[in-house]
């Protein structure tokens, strides 16, 4: 029984079957990659997982609870954090403030009228935020404006914002899309480091095979909205079905 | 400070006074020892405030009021040709200011907004030391400023305000209105309407949806129903609606043969123009020629509506084409100074300023309570409206009312309105506790000298 159980998801957009009978099980403390060619339904599946889309049928259970029909913030409160394709951070705030917000969200829940306390007096939150910044080696940039960070640092910051909530599942949406090779490698190292330091389940949606094979313990291949195979990386590489449907076609 | 290039003279003066100030004693004063607000004491000058709309929809009227007020100050201070001072039935004013004090004035912009008008009047009272406020071009503002003057302890001489409420339910002891009102319009129009249009008509009212519109409609309706006219419908229109077509169109087949536009300013210009476009003036209903009536006219509205007002009947407080000596004297001074004839709004403000000055002179004091006493039930003549009384019970002036009509063949650009009749004062009088004027509950309160 995985921590995330997706069963029989169907989603149609007009005449297009975006997802057809998707079943997926992500086991706890593994890195699970979901790959597939363009238009395979990866993004649609992710949007279902985070509550942005409601499927026509099927169920998504996280740790025994359904996530369907819940708002993104509720799903986050259940313990699922999300990293975006392009880093989504609070550009107008400082780095440390960026990390403090998820800390407050974790501690206080989706809403709390803490309008009278001074943020500076929240020592526990500050320490938590500093610790995670140290983890991603950004402590020296704690007072910088987030918008002025380099792209790699923005990615690190976003990771920190997700990790500080100690999510039970981290969803990564093409975390290296559009990155130069060096940045991609840095990101892979960062993710590896994270994985080594803490027990965390990750689900990565990714296009870049290099990233997938560097990180993933299990891989699900999606094609035309349906899972083709689910295997370990070693087995995927030589899998005829995958080669036929995906790797062959994509000339990777 | 000494580097300031704004005004060398000012700086010198400032420096001198600052120097003198060091030698002067310092004292603290709570109000209540001077007798009344802004008492001029032994100052050689006295300041009055001209609070008129200089921006906003009635800015043109406000600026015309301001011209007349400046003229009045000139005349009070003995400059110019003296204007109505020469025709005024009282001869107390001799061109030496008021009670020997030179008259100075400050101006303010009401924007035709009550809040702004009150702020401006407060500044005149609190900062500039004004002893009297006059001017204004709408009833909402007049009521608001009148209330303020009452609580601050200065006199308010209303400018153009036509709503019954100003001297009706919102009357105040410190406030005075020379201008006529909605009830008087109705009463004055009555005989003319009867003579011109008979007793068998059916009227359709379009009324601006605010206090002035309501009271005017009420007054006119009472008059026309008294003549035996039917009231077909009375429709409220939003202020500033712009396009009135959807209110005018239903008039066509309503069976009404008279349209009464209880609109003022831009609303009146637009609704009248559009009513004419709908061919109402050329229509025949119930065997009658269709007629349009505009209860309250002003020269500026007439200019805005252009040819559309031709033949349309309405009422006015005063018109520059009157033939009496007072009017002639005022039109001459005004016309020579500014190059065009004064509007009714200008006239009422000019007269109000002189009346105030005269009342102070007769009372022998600037104390508002003295002025109130001097003005109450005061009778005068020679101010362009014939014999006039300031009624003590509600501080409303009673005088003849003009009924005018849009000129059919104007000879020049100022010839927009022609006088049809002058309804005598006895016809437009009413009891101070008339139900349209707040009934028995309406009360002036007591005069407030302020401090």
């Amino acid at each position: 029984m995985g921590i995330l159980e997706v069963k029989g998801i169907n989603k149609r957009f007009g005449g297009l079957q975006a997802l057809g009978d998707v079943n997926l099980s992500v086991a706890e403390n593994t890195v699970h990659a979901i790959i597939g060619p363009n238009g395979a339904g990866k993004s649609t599946l992710l949007n279902v997982l985070v509550g942005k889309l409601i499927p026509d049928s099927g169920s998504v259970m996280f740790d025994g609870q359904s996530v369907l029909g819940r708002q993104p913030y509720e799903i986050n409160q259940m313990g699922i954090s999300r990293v975006f394709q392009t880093p989504e951070i609070f550009g107008d705030l400082t780095v440390i403030e960026n990390v403090m917000i998820p800390c407050f969200a974790k501690r206080d829940g989706a809403y709390r009228l803490h309008a009278w306390e001074n943020t500076r007096n929240e020592k526990a939150i500050q320490e938590q935020a500093e610790a995670i910044l140290a983890d991603v080696s950004m402590l020296d940039k704690r007072n910088m404006h987030a918008a002025s960070l380099s792209r790699g640092d923005k990615r690190r910051l976003e990771m920190a914002m997700c990790l500080v909530q100690e999510p039970r599942l981290l969803l990564l949406d093409e975390p290296t899309a559009g990155m130069a090779r060096a940045d991609t490698n840095n990101t892979i190292d960062l993710l590896k480091e994270i994985k080594e330091k803490r027990d965390i389940t990750m689900a990565i949606i990714e296009h870049d095979m290099h990233v997938v094979f560097s990180l993933a313990e299990r891989i699900t291949v999606l094609a035309q909205g349906t899972p083709l195979v689910e295997e370990t990386p070693e087995n995927i590489k030589g899998h005829p079905k995958v080669r036929e449907a995906y790797l062959g076609e994509a000339q990777v | 400070m000494s580097k300031s290039t704004i005004s060398r003279r000012g700086v010198l003066k400032t420096g001198a006074i600052a120097g003198a100030g060091l030698a002067l004693p310092t004292y603290l004063r709570a109000d209540g020892h001077t007798g009344y607000t802004n008492a001029p004491g032994d100052s050689p000058t006295v300041t009055i405030g001209f609070n008129v709309p200089q921006t906003g929809p009635y800015a043109e009227e406000g600026l015309d009021e301001l011209r007349a007020q400046e003229l009045a100050v000139e005349h009070l201070n003995g400059e110019g040709d003296g204007g109505m001072l020469n025709t005024f039935s009282e001869k107390n004013l001799d061109g030496t200011g008021i009670l020997g004090k030179k008259v100075e004035f400050v101006t303010g912009d009401t924007q035709t907004k009550s809040d702004v008008a009150r702020a401006s009047a407060q500044s005149m009272i609190q900062k500039d030391g004004c002893i009297m406020i006059t001017g204004g071009s709408s009833s909402g503002v007049a009521v608001a400023v009148q209330d303020l003057c009452q609580s601050s302890g200065v006199i308010f001489m209303a400018g153009l305000t036509h709503s019954n409420d100003t001297t009706g339910k919102d009357r105040k002891a410190n406030g005075f209105r020379h201008f006529f009102n909605g009830f008087m319009s109705g009463a004055a129009l009555g005989p003319v309407l009867e003579a011109e249009y008979g007793n068998e008509r059916s009227a359709y009212h379009l009324t601006a949806d605010y206090n002035w519109g309501w009271t005017t409609q009420e007054s006119i309706q009472a008059t026309t129903e008294g003549l035996g006219w039917q009231t077909q419908e009375a429709v409220l229109t939003p202020v500033g609606a712009g396009d009135f077509s959807s209110y005018i169109a239903p008039v066509l087949n309503s069976g009404a043969d008279t349209l009464i536009l209880n609109h003022y300013g831009g609303d009146m210009v637009n609704s009248l123009t559009q009513a004419v476009q709908f061919g109402l003036k050329d229509r025949q209903v119930n065997g009658n020629d269709f007629k349009i009536i505009v209860p309250l006219y002003s020269e500026l509205m007439a200019a805005g509506a252009g040819a559309n007002i031709q033949g349309v009947i309405g009422s006015m407080n005063w018109n520059w084409q009157l033939e009496d000596e007072g009017t002639k004297a005022f039109v001459k001074s005004f016309g020579e100074k500014y190059g065009f004839p004064p509007s009714g709004a200008a006239h009422t403000c000019y007269v109000q300023t002189l009346l105030y000055a005269d009342a102070v002179t007769r009372a022998g004091t600037f104390n508002p309570c003295g002025v109130v006493e001097a003005l109450e039930d005061f009778e005068f003549d020679g101010m362009g409206n014939g014999p006039t009384t300031y009624r003590g019970a509600d501080h409303q002036c009673f005088k003849d009312v003009l009924v005018v009509k849009g000129t059919e063949n104007p000879t020049n650009q100022y010839d927009t309105l022609e006088i049809v009749d002058q309804t005598p004062r006895s016809q437009v009088e009413y009891a101070p506790d008339h139900p349209m004027f707040g009934g028995a509950e309406a009360s002036l309160g007591t005069c407030n000298p302020g401090a």
């Binding site: 993104p72 809403y111 | 600052a18 603290l28 200089q54 702004v116 702020a119 509950e441």
Partner: protein, 402 residues
């Protein structure tokens, strides 16, 4: 002090001193000098500085922190004013129940309007607030509710005022006939004359001052709180915030209601200072003026709203009164041709043309100075400091603190 850090404490103290000493600070010129027309230290105007200051400080909590541009904020000011005058009419001229009710009523209105309007964001939110405010304006201006019920609620365009025959059930026989605080009349004042100077200390002004100081203090607390941080993050990236486990709508609604209650307080105070209230203060251009004040002062800053409100009210009441005669006096020292030329150049911008100045200044601020007067001040100080450091031979690091 009071849970504020050193920088905020000093800002707070500066504001307290400014507010308390305003009757002196705003009257720098002797009463009968030529420059006295630039004095702003008379009670009515000082009250408005504070009332609009409170209003814009509250608006800034919404717009400055969350970036949601409400184009209908004046509606809450109007609602608060009406509530206060009704308290005067029904209970007594005591200002305390009036102000309390105006805050409560404005709060209730903002809960309802906020709940609906906050279902949308961006320009849709602006249009929704504008639509609500215009509806409320139309209802108040023509007293549609009153007409529906066959009574008077807002008394239409003339405005609501207290009449002698109003019930005033709590009024004692000896109570003043003007707004008062347990007998202390709002409009009574003490004048302090020093040489040519006259300084007026009015009870009403100091009541406003107390509320201003409280309102400003609360605004600092909100700005520095985790709640304020969340609001700022809404402005920065609402999507990220949603995926961070924060439900933005209740936060927005809270900010909306707080800022509506600030507006209600301002409205209540306004009625307490000047107990006649009309619908026109709810018109959408009045809301636009609030936006202009916030932008001009420096949106999202603590002190900006107060500066902006002060600057606009100063222009409205002082600059609008400068007329051509005064201009001629100023330039009298110049040769006549140049004098007339100068007057002709300046003429369109002063007196009745002050709206033009307002429009031009506002555009200039939006284009060149998004941080408003606060940014201007900072740049000025920055310029000064840089010069200093440039001159300093040691050449210490000029890196800004943040």
């Amino acid at each position: 002090m009071l849970g504020l850090n050193a920088k905020d404490t000093s800002l707070f103290i500066v504001v307290i001193i400014m507010v308390l000493a305003a009757p002196i600070l705003l009257n720098p010129f002797p009463a009968d000098s030529a420059l006295a027309q630039f004095n702003a230290g008379y009670p009515a105007l000082m009250q408005r500085f504070l009332i609009f200051g409170i209003l814009v400080v509250g608006f800034n909590i919404l717009f400055g922190l969350t970036g949601y541009l409400s184009f209908g904020h004046a509606a809450f000011l109007g609602v608060g004013s009406f509530a206060a005058v009704w308290m005067f009419k029904l209970l007594s001229f005591n200002v305390i129940p009036a102000i309390i009710l105006s805050i409560v009523v404005a709060g209730l209105f903002s809960v309802v309007i906020g709940y609906v309007a906050l279902r949308r964001s961006g320009i849709y939110f602006s249009i929704l607030t504008l639509a609500f405010a215009q509806m409320m304006y139309a209802i108040a201006y023509s007293d549609l509710v009153g007409k529906f019920l066959g009574t008077i609620i807002t008394n239409g365009e003339t405005g609501l005022q207290v009449y002698l025959d109003d019930p005033q059930i709590l009024a004692g026989a000896g109570d003043p006939r003007v707004p008062h605080l347990f007998g202390l009349e709002m409009n009574s004042q003490t004048v302090w004359s020093v040489g040519g100077w006259e300084f007026v200390f009015q009870n009403g002004y100091y009541l406003c001052a107390v509320f201003m100081i409280i309102a400003f203090y609360m605004s600092i607390r909100i700005f520095r709180s985790p709640f304020g941080l969340v609001l700022r993050s809404i402005k920065s990236n609402q999507q990220r915030l949603n995926y961070t486990g924060v439900s933005t709508r209740p936060y927005m609604l809270t900010a909306f209601v707080i800022s509506g209650m600030y507006a209600g307080l301002a409205g209540g105070l306004w009625s307490a200072m000047d107990p006649l209230t009309g619908a026109e203060r709810m018109f959408w251009t009045a809301s636009g003026e609030i936006v202009i004040m916030a932008i001009l002062g420096g949106v999202g800053t603590l002190i900006g709203p107060i500066l902006g409100a002060g600057a606009i009210k100063y222009m409205e009441n002082i600059v609008s009164k400068i007329n051509d005669n005064i201009l001629h006096q100023w330039f009298a020292f110049m040769p006549e041709g140049i004098e007339n030329f100068m007057v002709a150049i300046i003429h369109p911008f002063i007196g009745k043309g002050w709206h033009l100045t307002l429009g031009v200044v506002f555009m200039a601020v939006v284009i060149y100075l998004p941080g408003g007067l606060v940014e201007l001040g900072e740049r000025f100080i920055g310029l000064f400091r840089r010069k200093k450091t440039d001159n300093a031979p040691t050449g210490a690091s000029t890196k800004p603190a943040e």
